[in-house]
């Protein structure tokens, strides 16, 4: 009984690490949500309104793309493990292909409306890479400082 209480209040280090690393996807999304407005403001200040609008479009497309990629992989993992899934196989494939269609549509709209903001759009598409980089730095900090 005392051992059980101790386990509940002070989980084992491996359980702490598992909980910490399982929250990586949520943290990456939060990094994306924090980085996008900051970088849009920085782009506006440095390169002007058109580039900032293109960058905001790119960030939005990248965020939706990452979200759908996540959902597709959850559905794929459900299929691979035989778990009950609410997503149909056709829906998974459709969503996977729809991501590319959305990106192409966004690029076409930007190109036809304002070709000057194309560079901003392309830069915005790298938002997940920046967020993953931030997550890697944070995990390094947690490993060194907290020993997780």
């Amino acid at each position: 009984m005392p051992d059980q209480l101790q386990t509940e209040h002070n989980p084992a280090p491996s359980a702490v690490a598992e909980r910490f690393y399982s929250g990586a996807l949520l943290r990456i999304r939060r990094f994306m949500a924090v980085l996008a407005p900051l970088l849009v403001v920085a782009a506006w200040w440095k390169f002007g309104l058109r580039s900032a609008v293109g960058f905001a479009f790119g960030c939005a497309i990248a965020y939706v793309n990452f979200h759908w990629l996540n959902r597709v992989i959850v559905g794929f993992a459900d299929r691979a493990t035989g778990a009950a899934t609410s997503q149909s196989g056709q829906g998974i494939v459709f969503r996977f292909l729809l991501r590319y269609l959305l990106m192409a549509l966004g690029a076409y709209v930007i190109l036809s409306v304002s070709p000057a903001s194309l560079n901003g759009l392309l830069a915005g598409l790298f938002l997940p890479v920046a967020a993953i980089g931030c997550e890697a730095v944070y995990e390094l900090y947690a490993a060194l400082a907290r020993g997780v």
Binding site: L25, N70, V74, T81, G82, L122
Partner: protein
């Protein structure tokens, strides 16, 4: 014909200016740049597709062998696919930045 004659014959042929390799105008250069950009994008897309297929196949195999390891495999697969996609985007950005 002796060896020395053959050598001089080859050297004399090489000494001629070949019009086909002459420096072309801006139109010719633009055409080759467009072809090179198309090939580089095709190579990048094809190799990224192969890498994504390999990563997905490995993840499916790992999930089928050990379903308990699902959270870790799923996270690695998502990050891997996102980073592989970004490699194709790097090529696209280089093409847009350098090919005007």
């Amino acid at each position: 014909m002796g060896k020395l004659s053959k050598l001089f014959l080859v050297l004399s042929v090489l000494a001629f200016a070949v019009p086909a390799f002459a420096q072309g105008g801006a139109e010719t250069e633009g055409k080759w740049i467009a072809i090179a950009a198309g090939f580089s994008m095709a190579f990048a897309s094809g190799i990224c597709a192969l890498a994504q297929g390999k990563a997905t196949a490995a993840a499916a195999e790992s999930l089928a062998r050990n379903p308990a390891a699902r959270p870790g495999i799923q996270l690695a697969l998502i990050l891997g696919l996102a980073l592989i996609e970004s490699l194709a985007l790097y090529t696209l950005v280089i093409i847009f930045a350098k090919v005007k």
